[in-house]
Assembly symmetry: C2
Homo-oligomer: 298 residues x 2
Amino acid sequence: MDKIRITEDFRSIQDHICLELEKEDGRGAFREDLWKRPEGGGGRTRIFENGRVIEKGGVAFSAVEGPTPDKILQKLQLEKADFYATGVSIVLHPYNPMVPIIHMNIRYFEMSNGINWFGGGIDLTPHYVDKEDASYFHQQVKNTCDKFNPEYYPKFKKWADDYFFIKHRNETRGIGGIFFDRLSSKDGNEMQQIFEFAKSIGYLFPKVYRHFMNKNHNLPYGEIEKEWQSLRRGRYVEFNLVWDAGTKFGLDTNGRTESILMSMPPTANWQYMQEPKMGSREAQSLSLLKKDIDWINQ
Amino acid sequence: MDKIRITEDFRSIQDHICLELEKEDGRGAFREDLWKRPEGGGGRTRIFENGRVIEKGGVAFSAVEGPTPDKILQKLQLEKADFYATGVSIVLHPYNPMVPIIHMNIRYFEMSNGINWFGGGIDLTPHYVDKEDASYFHQQVKNTCDKFNPEYYPKFKKWADDYFFIKHRNETRGIGGIFFDRLSSKDGNEMQQIFEFAKSIGYLFPKVYRHFMNKNHNLPYGEIEKEWQSLRRGRYVEFNLVWDAGTKFGLDTNGRTESILMSMPPTANWQYMQEPKMGSREAQSLSLLKKDIDWINQ
């Protein structure tokens, strides 16, 4: 694969996404931080704070290289080699609890020993689960997957359910989406198609999120909904800091902390033994944070 | 060691601490949850919310037993054995940012193969580091240590500096205190002294924390201080969820989530690249979140 081409296409995707989000938000604009990694490469982190729809979020691009960290080598049981990694990573926290939190990531990794792969995914974390929204989201994701391989959606949907799972709460983080890792092929044409698939996910992102920003931002909410949002944001923190492999790996290998933790919400609350009232919208949402729900054909 | 005696003494320490804190707070009272562990044993978690001085906190006692979790056996490279563990664990988050967050833990662990030890510690996390408060705290802790062994304070103070360190921020969590683990002796008298030492830390806790509650609760503060408190609470969350061995182990081995995460603050905030203004009290505090400060002889 041509890593320069991949890097440039990923950077363009970051540009495209930021423009689209600024258009939809109307008020906020991204501020940009360019940073260098001492061991090689760097990134372009773009942060959105205090917009009209988006309260806090980031769209990060990075392309880093150097000796492969020992932790990766051990895991893969490989000898020393250099690596190159590039990707786009996004988390957005909206003001309105009726607008879902969203996460998207696409990434490419290669090593000087010839190993290379793509990974990524997109998943939605509504504070209040709306079945129609969930169905729309999964349908959009499935349509994108189906253009490349009919096996992608079912396989990667299950992977997301298993990955975005808060084990100590026995809850999924949200309604899932897709997650894939180490997607690769020895066949050059196939590998090119995997690259196109990753890019499609990148371009799908602003389309689906603009849909939710536009549709849900003016829905009414009050104190109860804001409090629930804060508690769900607390769960988001728990997932990311306790279970998310990318976050853990980044913090453990001296990654750029501020870029890794741009996924943190602006605020989060914790209450002891908080349990929503039976029959409430909060209880209804919680009951839907389960694996293996067929959101498209509910 | 007589595990029943240890268990009873630890439970009495929980009672004593709760009474002392209620006396000082004046408004709040603990609410109690009794819980059972399916594999054996249980606990008595006491939660304090919305007091006069304390906003959220817990004083937990537990005594659990059963087959030793595989993760511990692997770490110790031991064959299958049963275990018994009892302890008292506390985290308190005050309203007033001038009152420090505090953490205390004492614990006893034994296995059917004869291995046994005590562990524990006490450490202070001021939102604003006050050198006199820090000196007072460390002097009190040192006095308690010195009654048992002059080597304890320097050794366990260093251990706390290394343990309560937020590696990805290159900051200590607070001003430290002491941390010790696997403290044991084959000599019965010595082991009894270690037990007495652990209890002394338990009894020291309400004494020092009442001091800070009383002395600092009426200090003035405004929005800037509340915002800084929220950000420092965010750091507390980061330490506990990313680095704290006890939290990670508990969540990983199906511990009681609500008791483990009673350490979470009521609220926490994150801002991208938040850096206090040069020369501000916040910057001054941050500059003191370093290892190896001799707080007693500054």
